[in-house]
Point group: C4
Chain length 230, copies 4
């Protein structure tokens, strides 16, 4: 892309990423400033992400920051989110990913604190995640551990969400909006399965049914290029 085109795309992504943080607030996936959305700048070694320490009320296209895929600040008046290294690692190692979301949403984080994957006992889980939602390793912030844990876990799963142990979920998507949708659906199935299990065991869905539901959902909706999923 020409520099002018890159600038236009970056401007559009700044606006989109700023707006998508409002969905995290709307669905109560975050408190204070503890969650973040990023988007890859297509074709460039750049990403757009939430600045550190700015409240969701004050987020605007202008306050978003741009970093390279090592997490180094390229453009912006604030420090990038302290989770930028993990986002950047995912973009470096999963070229199909265009958006990443990290939250500490209550129910997804609760499964991660017990070190448990979320079983696929809801048709919505089958549709969206194609099987259980996997647990990733415990990893300290500060090096590649979190990013590596995310990538290794997601590569061996149909799921676009991973529960990092004792920490919280990361979700991915073809773009930032899809990653946000996945974060919203994740918390919904995490909560429903939690509530269900509180009063007894849940009924499994057979592997055949899970596969059929997932294939149908991904393919039927995938064919509608002019329409969002569901």
């Amino acid at each position: 892309m020409s520099d002018a085109n890159v600038a236009r795309v970056v401007d559009r992504l700044r606006q989109q990423v700023a707006d998508l943080h409002r969905e995290l607030v709307r669905y109560a996936l975050v408190v204070w400033t503890a969650g973040n959305v990023s988007a890859r700048v297509p074709g460039e070694d750049l990403l757009v992400i939430k600045p550190s320490g700015v409240s969701y009320d004050e987020l605007s296209a202008e306050s978003m920051v741009v970093t390279d895929l090592d997490g180094t600040l390229v453009e912006g008046d604030h420090q990038p989110s302290s989770d930028t290294e993990a986002h950047a690692y995912v973009y470096r190692h999963m070229p199909e990913v265009g958006g990443v979301v990290h939250t500490h949403s209550t129910y997804a984080t609760a499964w991660s604190a017990r070190g448990e994957a979320i079983p696929c006992h809801l048709t919505m889980t089958a549709d969206e995640f194609g099987g259980e939602i996997p647990l990733g390793p415990f990893a300290r912030i500060g090096d590649d551990s979190i990013g590596r844990g995310i990538v290794e876990t997601l590569r061996s799963s149909h799921s676009r969400a991973v529960l990092m142990q004792n920490h919280g979920p990361f979700t991915i998507g073809a773009d930032a909006k899809e990653a946000v949708k996945t974060a919203v659906m994740l918390e919904d199935v995490a909560r429903t399965m939690h509530v269900a299990r509180q009063l007894g065991p849940t009924v499994p869905i057979s592997d055949d049914d899970v596969t059929a539901l997932h294939d149908r959902y991904q393919n039927v909706y995938g064919q509608r290029a002019d329409d969002e999923r569901r």
Copy 2:
């Protein structure tokens, strides 16, 4: 009806169905785009339903779609909801039904994931549902199974709500507003009974009392033609 009259009725129903989706949002019965309301066009083999993949913020009378009672698109710029076949099946087989609602509301879906009906141990359940809220079968999307499961379950029950196993609730009403009210009340009693059971057994209500409460509620309110129920 003349074509002009049908068009007027359809316009009114488009507005009503669009508006009623806001009640699903208000009572937190849905996330993202995962729930839908439909209305039968009285006297015609038509229904009005939510389009697929349009967010609740963007729903308007114009974006609603009209299908026949086989779920085939008749009018509208979007694909109908992927649950249209289930709605259409209900209208074909239950002529008294004028509105259908489907959600994945947390507590109702949790009972369905355990494969349990909701017992009638609250006066509100007796009033609104006349007994336990029944469980419907597990059914894959894509043919008549969901619709058939709904209709067969509701036919042998006083309840206007059914919990489809591993999936979520469907509710019916004489019109779309009643079906939405039933979806709201269902989630309320599903949540209250869930919370109650978390700390021990609930006290049953005798069959006599359930029948007396249900009859009074349906009849006393039924006589007030100018007034909504409760």
Copy 3:
């Protein structure tokens, strides 16, 4: 009071009672139209109450209805709430009561569905309720049973709230605002005690401490005639 004075007081109470329903919505104590506030008209055998079947969005001073203390409609375009008989019974038998509230709020109703009083293991419960929040009997709607159950239970308790078995809470106050405050505080302590008990036993507060807290709260605040409680 002269007729003109009564009319002025009734107009003020219509506005206050309409406004107070918004607090029930704000604190999520009610869904759809399932909860109601009333106020006694001081010095008259009259009460002001929510009309039946009008949504909270549409409530206005004008839509409130006035009944006598037998629950018979005196003034208003709608039927009075179907719970009017219970409110009226309380006013007839407890002259110190100026406001009554009925809800089906989730946590309070859950305790009532198990047939359990809420123990006084929080300083907030001691402050507001002066001891455990008592359980009232199961009572069918349609005669004096509900009203009688409320009055008999409250008379032998410090609490201004009662949990009617399988049904839900009623609260009272010197005026409608106090009864609403009690309904709000009730659901708060019902929820907190529920959550606390989910993971194990709660620590009791000694009778001496309960009495000291309650006396201080009622008296210290009672001396401030120009100020609301707390």
Copy 4:
């Protein structure tokens, strides 16, 4: 400071403290009027606090009250919050504290009602609290007991939050905004750990990891003087 300067600082703090109460409402940490924020006037023996019995909707800079560090009213048209003595005690004994918050937030209070500290099994808890969130003693209102319990508990902990038994949490910060942030994060980790424990034991984080996470979070963010934490 000159008197004019003190007046300017007090005016600014009145506004800030009034505004911060809205965060308590936004994060559902309080109902009715049952929670309060205060700020120390730097360099003076004064604090700014919520008035007693004024609803959150009506709070304004003007309605805030100023007391000395014994809790005696210095300026304002209302009585100070009934918790002022506890706030004042903290300011007298912890000179590094510039803001104090008290709530009865559901999940934090639930842990306190069982007499349990909140274990540090979430990275967010390690980041923010540096270890478990400690339990303080049961203390009656009306003398120094509450303040003393808060100070003694916090002095032997990394945590800026304490759970007063049967009562609820108090949090502190370098200023009122930090104390509010801590109250918000506290309820979030109290809720997540509660939810996690409902279905089984949680996975511990090693002391080494807790220390490393806490140090990094406090130091990395502490170095950014121009930026808020996280």
